[in-house]
């Protein structure tokens, strides 16, 4: 199992039956493939749909319906479409139970940076899309990302260095090494990936990690 699949599988454990969820691109969308048996969730996409699934077969696509990545999409029974103002009323208004989003950096205070990479001095790219509203509005924010960057530097920081998407909003961080919860006392190590030790997680993490007793293995 590669890192992406591991993270997606663990993230899928966070789905609860009946949850309304909005999934960011990449690993979060992948998590939908691993929803546990008996759990039904309702997907929300910020372009204005509830309760949909991807269409992949030629001839079944509808050129008036797509998801937030403009992929061909089918509305499921009980689904609906609506305009962007309604979509973000749903998102910002606390009507989404959980969002799973990727990040460039996340820190022990629950700050998250996922919209801005430096393009040239004072200029950032690519932009936040709907992420800032999701981070502020969703009842539960789950952040999925690889623990370290390509150079091995921790993306789980004491303090984010890139421009924030939102301050103090992240509830749970899931990486290929660990599951960490943002609490009022700080970042608590909740689970370690199979075959990974607490010390290995600590070594890969710049943030201060609180370890309370024995840390169980990641639920998958």
């Amino acid at each position: 199992m590669d890192a992406r699949e591991l993270i997606a599988r663990r993230a899928a454990q966070e789905f609860k039956d009946g949850y309304v969820v909005n999934l960011g691109f990449g690993i979060p969308v992948l998590a939908a493939s691993y929803i546990p048996e008996g759990v039904e969730v309702i997907l929300q996409a910020e372009n204005g749909i509830l309760n949909f699934e991807a269409v992949t077969r030629l001839g079944e696509e509808d050129p008036y319906i797509a998801d937030a990545a403009c992929q061909p999409t089918r509305i499921l029974p009980g689904g609906s479409t609506f305009d962007l103002a309604m979509s973000f009323a749903i998102i910002r208004g606390g009507h989404v139970d959980a969002t799973i989003l990727g990040a460039l950096e996340v820190d022990q205070e629950g700050n998250i940076a996922n919209w801005a990479l430096p393009l040239s001095p004072g200029k950032w790219s690519p932009g936040m899309g709907g992420a800032m509203d999701l981070l502020v509005g969703a009842k539960r924010v789950i952040c999925t990302l690889q623990h370290t960057d390509k150079k091995g530097r921790s993306k789980i920081l004491k303090k984010c260095t890139l421009p924030l998407s939102a301050a103090k909003v992240v509830d749970l961080i899931i990486t290929e090494l660990a599951v960490m919860e943002v609490t009022p006392e700080g970042l608590v190590l909740k689970e370690v990936a199979p075959g990974v030790s607490v010390d290995q997680v600590k070594a890969a993490t710049e943030a201060d990690l609180i370890v309370k007793g024995p840390v169980p293995e990641m639920r998958l």
């Binding site: 372009n47 790219s125 421009p163």
Partner: protein, 238 residues
């Protein structure tokens, strides 16, 4: 009652160099593709363009063409990453970019259309979005003042219009119904034009009084072809 149906060129003649325009659609879908293609031909320039998000990933489609053709001086939206030309022009200083969180942007446009001065949002508090903005505290919680946004012209995309300008949307209408309120001149590109009374009152997504010009776009059949081709090319359909 005079019909609002006009030719594409007659409608687009209202767009002049230097104007601010809003274009409905989301990464190409329910975007007024015929009007955009014609605008590229017409070559109006120095536009300020407002859209919810940018072009279909990779560009070369819909609003991406306007940017690739160097007709846009300033872009206001929530994301440019899907449009390589936008990122390049922003980087080299040709294109000015103003980012707003998507939910903030749509509320700014809605406020502009609804006669509100703006809205108070928690989104962006504690981020770069605070820069240069007023804040209001209510019951101890801080909100950003996000001011109303309007355009000279909005080009929206509906499915059907009657000749009085009433619009019926199909699928995900995204920014279109909101932009229809927020411009001095509103052009609605649709697949079908019908007589008043043929759209049920309950089905009208944008009342005709908000629409100045109705134009026929590529139609439903061509729209199906366009997206089939696009999605096949991008390996979304097999």
């Amino acid at each position: 009652m005079k019909s609002k149906e006009v030719s594409l060129d007659a409608a687009l003649s209202h767009i002049k160099d230097g104007m601010t325009i809003m274009i409905g659609g989301f990464l190409g879908l329910n975007e007024p593709l015929a009007a955009i293609d014609r605008l590229v031909k017409l070559g109006v320039k120095d536009l300020t363009l407002i859209t919810a998000v940018n072009a279909y990933p990779g560009g070369g489609f819909g609003i991406g063409k306007l940017i690739e053709n160097h007709q846009v001086k300033k872009y206001i939206g929530s994301h440019i990453g899907t449009c390589p030309a936008a990122v390049e022009q922003y980087k080299n200083g040709e294109l000015e970019v103003e980012f707003y969180p998507q939910g903030t942007l749509i509320e700014k446009i809605r406020a502009g259309g609804a006669g509100l001065g703006g809205i108070l949002t928690p989104t962006g508090v504690g981020t770069l979005m605070e820069e240069g903005k007023q804040k209001v505290t209510i019951d101890g919680k801080v909100y950003l003042v996000e001011t109303a946004l309007r355009a000279d012209v909005a080009i929206i995309r509906g499915y059907k219009a009657d000749k009085m300008g009433n619009i019926l949307y199909r699928g995900t209408p995204n920014s279109n119904p909101i932009m229809a309120l927020a411009a001095d001149y509103v052009i609605a590109e649709v697949d079908y034009v019908v007589e008043p009374g043929e759209i049920e009152p309950d089905r009208v997504g944008t009342p005709g009084i908000l629409v100045d010009a109705v134009v026929k776009g590529y139609g439903e059949e061509k729209t199906r072809e366009i997206f089939r081709e696009l999605w096949i090319k991008n390996k979304k359909l097999a």
